[in-house]
């Protein structure tokens, strides 16, 4: 395994083990994510990519039988510490889901949801944030005339971009994306990929994907997971061109998975 040199790690994971009841899904992973870069998590189905991703904003807490051991440090602070405020954590680590899930509200209300629940009330601030977030998610031009229409009237690709806009509206440090393009057509996928490239200017992005080309196109670093273990982690160009590990090579050349 090639240890890559990481300056300014935003998230550092130390010996993370994750259990669903008695079965262990993550077997001691150590990994760190550099600031304002895109890191892709790849691996065969069921290897624990989503599980690992959800550990970073503690979405796994919703699963009753789950248990975590080890440390996840956000800016040096362990997020599994008893004193961590989960709400504050989730405001710093946003998430975009595989299946777009806009609220049954207007486009406008969807974007400002995160601000509203934080107690924000200023209308002009809302207007400004809606515009910047939608522009940031490359959706502004398509919806600027129908901000107060229901978000459920958007196309699948637009909905996914709306979810991204919603996530960036609260200005998080990190954005987690779990297969954000798996339900989209190639055109929408290209749009979202382009968007990820733009977002990397301001955010640290961790993206799970099954699409090798996509990982190669959008990410700076790539981590390969297999059966709950981190097999290989390195710069994307290196990992795809010259994988150090046999399993990695098998996987990216499509011999299994």
């Amino acid at each position: 395994m090639t240890p890559i040199k990481i300056e300014n790690p935003v998230i550092e994971v130390e010996d993370l083990r994750f259990y669903y009841g008695d079965s262990r899904a993550i077997h001691g992973v150590d990994i760190a994510f550099p600031e304002k870069q895109v890191t892709a998590l790849i691996g065969p189905s069921g290897c624990g990519k989503s599980t690992l991703l959800r550990c970073f904003n503690r979405m796994n807490d919703l699963i009753d039988i789950s248990r975590v051991e080890g440390k996840v440090l956000l800016d040096g602070q362990d997020i599994y510490d008893k004193n961590t405020d989960i709400i504050e954590l989730r405001r710093q680590v946003g998430m975009v889901f595989q299946k777009s899930n806009p609220f049954p509200k207007s486009i406008y209300e969807n974007v400002i949801y995160g601000l509203r629940i934080a107690g924000e009330k200023d209308k002009s601030f809302f207007d400004e944030r809606v515009e910047t977030s939608l522009k940031g998610a490359a959706l502004w031009d398509e919806v600027k005339d129908r901000l107060h229409d229901s978000a459920l009237g958007l196309s699948g690709g637009q909905m996914q971009r709306l979810c991204i806009a919603r996530a960036i509206a609260v200005n998080p440090k990190v954005i987690l994306m779990d297969e954000p393009c798996s339900a989209l057509d190639p055109k929408s996928t290209a749009r979202v990929e382009e968007l990820i490239g733009e977002l990397r200017e301001n955010f640290t992005i961790i993206i799970v994907t099954h699409n090798m080309q996509q990982a190669a196109r959008v990410s700076d670093n790539t981590a390969f997971l297999f059966e709950g273990n981190l097999i290989e982690y390195g710069l994307t160009e290196q990992l795809f061109v010259k994988p150090q590990n046999k399993q990695t090579e098998d996987y990216i050349t499509g011999r299994f998975g």
Binding site: N57, M59, L62, D64, K82, I87, E88, R90, R91, G94, M95, F97, K99, N101, P102, F103, P104, K105, Y113, G114, R116, I117, A118, S150, L152, C163, R166, A167, V170
Partner: protein, 741 residues
């Protein structure tokens, strides 16, 4: 797929869709059929009355030079009679016009002539002879089967003399006489010189068994009233009313022999119109007044102020005539008033102010009489023809106004909404206002929903969003079992256990209404502080409620120990007494507090189940999206889950509402069923549903009450229909708004 198999699948599919449509249509058909059935029973309430002429006996049977003064008919509409000025009564078979018999009323004095005949009661005639003497004759009819003639049925008539009044020397304008069953005779004479004299004769038995006769005679005080133009005496001869040519009404009480008392004298019509006819209305409480302008109004004494004195007040205005009213009379069965003018004969129902029937045969009506049962009318036309009609007046006392509006019933001091379908006395008029019942239904439902909706919805939110799955798996079936408890058991417990319990510890109940929320709030605050402590973190999520249970028990226990003391201290030991004297609300032991608890018990499972289902059916992805954006659990529930589940919650609430409106057994047992219109939570009520259950066994089939009960069923049906339709529309709207996932 093999073609054979495909065919089979398709066939099954078709069969299933047929079966489903047939089932659905059958249900719709059944519901409509039931509705049609109940509407059909209630519809005759609004049928207009009809009259069918059944006989016409051509003129020529009465010699034209003898004037007919009165007519009458038996209850079977078979035999009529006429009394003419010559003092003869003739009985006529209406079927063939044959004269059955002729009787001279005073055979010994052949030259005596009759001046006038006045009718009262059941075929009683006061005969006013030309020498000033009066005699009271009653005609009686009974069916008779002639054994000699093949058991042929005929009507036998008899005449019975009920009293004689001797001649008076002076010229008399008008005389009235009554003989009542207690042997009291009353005679009133209006003399040509304007004097009004009353003579009373009473025969009583003293304690030795001897007959004692008291006689009195007095001239009545007219109190400066104008010329008397109409007089009427009630059937028992104790109340005398007079109208004047200048629109005044006078009322004397003749209750005490020889001590007539002018109890009322008023200017009834400001425009001084002539009062042309007076009559009592059946029951002898209301007075019908006809005037020269053709108007007919009814009056009775109303307590206007606190003195308790009743003054005659105009209550109802009946349909007017185009000509002056010259004769008024009344039915012996209900509050129907008959009025005659040059314009014809009208039948009006007093209380409902409904115009029932009008008769204006060519040639007019000179004499007329309604049968005792009120279903036949006999009249003598000016041309001497004897006409008779059979009347069909199904429900004269019912109109939309009496069903839904305020009605001024006899004996009431103002118009009111009253439901009182029966009473001890025979001449009692049923009061069938549906308004207090509709009010009762809505009131009971309102309090039940006030109690049930928050509990059910918050319970559903808790179980679906906050409770651990294991707990949820226990709570949900337990609450659903609540729905299976027969309502008769809930009603029984509410009436026999809860009602006395709450009544005896009213102070504690109110105290716990304050203490419980206070204790809960305190508990939550404490918990917020305590959750930072290490050992509590282990119990935290999903089991917080365990800490609440002892607090609730403690608060209730505290309330029940402090309650009596508090009652003693603040309300002099009796909260109920205090409510009555200070707030003016009566405390019924069976009241809306009990109803709220008991009906809530029946409604909560329905609302809870439907609300819980729709809350748990909100996609997890939405919940996750909200939480991932940093929302707390409560924010997620409030801003995402509740709006998304709102169609279901709303539907559950409305179904619960429909259930509460129609709920019968609980309200029947636990409300006291008094049809009052009072919003107070301390009173009971009588809802439509319980009313039907209470009254239908006593209601004579096809009577007014019976049909009104069916009408109330229709209203209940419509009420539920409206609630369900509104619910469905709102649900669709909410669905369209929050639906597509």
């Amino acid at each position: 797929m093999k073609p054979v198999y495909l065919k089979k699948v398709k066939r099954n599919d078709r069969l299933a869709s047929w079966a489903i449509s047939i089932g659905g249509l059958a249900i719709i058909f059944c519901v409509i059929f039931i509705l049609v059935l109940i509407v059909e029973v209630s519809l005759p309430l609004f049928m207009s009355p009809t009259a069918r002429q059944i006989a016409r006996v051509e003129s020529g049977f009465v010699s034209s030079n003898v004037q007919v003064l009165a007519v009458g008919m038996d209850d079977y509409l078979e035999t009529a009679y006429t009394i003419d000025a010559g003092g003869t009564i003739r009985f006529i078979n209406l079927a063939d016009g044959r004269e059955l018999e002729q009787i001279r009323l005073r055979p010994a004095e052949a030259d005596k002539r009759l001046l006038a005949v006045e009718n009262f009661g059941r075929l009683n005639h006061v005969l006013h002879w030309d020498d000033g003497s009066l005699s009271v004759e009653q005609v009686k009819f009974s069916p008779f089967y002639d054994a000699a003639d093949n058991n042929r049925r005929s009507i036998r008539h008899t005449l019975e003399s009920r009293g004689e009044f001797p001649a008076v020397p002076q010229q008399v304008e008008q005389s009235l006489a009554r003989v009542n069953d207690e042997g009291r005779q009353t005679r009133v004479d209006l003399f040509a010189d304007g004097r009004l004299e009353v003579q009373q004769r009473e025969v009583t038995e003293n304690f030795l068994g001897e007959e004692e006769v008291t006689e009195s005679s007095e001239i009545l005080e007219l109190n400066g009233a104008g010329q008397l133009s109409a007089l009427v005496l009630n059937d028992s001869g104790t109340q005398l009313y007079a109208g004047t040519a200048t629109g005044e009404l006078l009322h004397w009480s003749l209750e005490e022999s020889g001590e007539a008392n002018l109890v009322d004298h008023l200017q009834a019509f400001a425009d001084q119109r002539r009062i042309t006819a007076l009559s009592m209305v059946f029951g002898d409480v209301s007075l019908a007044v006809g005037d020269e302008r053709g108007q007919v109004s009814t009056w009775f004494g109303v307590r206007g102020d606190s003195s308790g004195k009743r003054t005659l007040t105009r209550i109802h205005q009946l349909t007017g005539h185009a000509a002056p009213v010259d004769k008024l009379s009344h039915s012996l069965r209900d509050k129907t008033v008959l009025s005659r003018s040059g314009d014809g004969l009208h039948l009006d129902y007093m209380t409902s102010e409904r115009f029932l029937l009008g008769f204006n045969p060519p040639g007019g009506i000179s004499r007329y009489a309604l049968t005792a049962r009120g279903d036949g009318l006999v009249a003598l036309g000016e041309n001497g023809d004897l006409l008779s009609w059979r009347l069909f007046i199904p429900h004269p006392e019912i109109s939309l106004k009496t069903l839904f509006g305020k009605v001024w019933y006899e004996g009431y001091d103002q118009p009111e909404y009253v439901w009182q379908s029966s009473a001890a006395s025979d001449d009692y008029e049923p009061k069938l206002s549906l308004t207090p019942l509709i009010f009762g239904s809505l009131k009971g439902t309102f309090y039940a929903m006030l109690f049930a909706v928050p509990l059910a919805i918050f319970g559903a939110i808790y179980t679906s969003q906050f409770a651990r799955p294991k707990l949820r798996g226990m709570i949900k079936p337990a609450i659903e079992i609540m729905a299976a408890v027969p309502t008769v058991i809930i009603g029984f417990l509410a009436a026999l256990w809860l009602a006395p319990l709450i009544e005896s510890s009213l102070g504690s109940v109110f105290l716990s209404l304050v203490l419980l929320p206070a204790a809960l709030m305190l508990c939550i605050l404490l918990w917020q502080a305590a959750r930072k402590l290490e050992p509590l973190k282990q119990v935290e999520r999903g089991y917080e409620f365990l800490a609440v249970i002892p607090i609730i028990i403690g608060a209730v226990a505290l309330a029940s120990t402090l309650g009596p003391g508090l009652e003693q201290w603040l309300f002099a030991g009796d909260l109920k007494q205090w409510l009555f004297s200070e707030l003016g609300t009566r405390y019924d032991p069976r009241n809306c507090i009990i109803i709220a608890f008991a009906m809530g018990f029946a409604v909560i499972p329905i609302i809870f189940t439907i609300a819980e289902d729709s809350l748990s059916n909100v996609p997890n992805s939405l919940k996750a999206a909200s939480l991932a954006l940093g929302a707390s659990r409560w924010q997620t529930v409030w801003r995402v889950i509740l709006p998304s589940a709102s169609p279901g919650i709303f539907a559950g609430t409305m179904i619960g509402f429909g259930r509460a409106v129609g709920e019968t057994m609980i309200v029947l047992m636990a409300t006291g069923n008094t049809a009052i219109m009072d919003l107070s939570i301390f009173n009971g009520m009588r809802p439509l549903s319980a009313n039907i259950a209470v009254e239908i066994p006593e209601a004579p089939v096809d009577g007014s009450l019976y049909r009104v009960l069916f009408l109330s069923a229709v209203i209940l049906f419509i009420l539920t229909f409206i609630v369900n339709t509104v619910a469905e529309i709102v649900r669709q709207r909410l669905r369209a708004k929050y639906g597509r996932f």
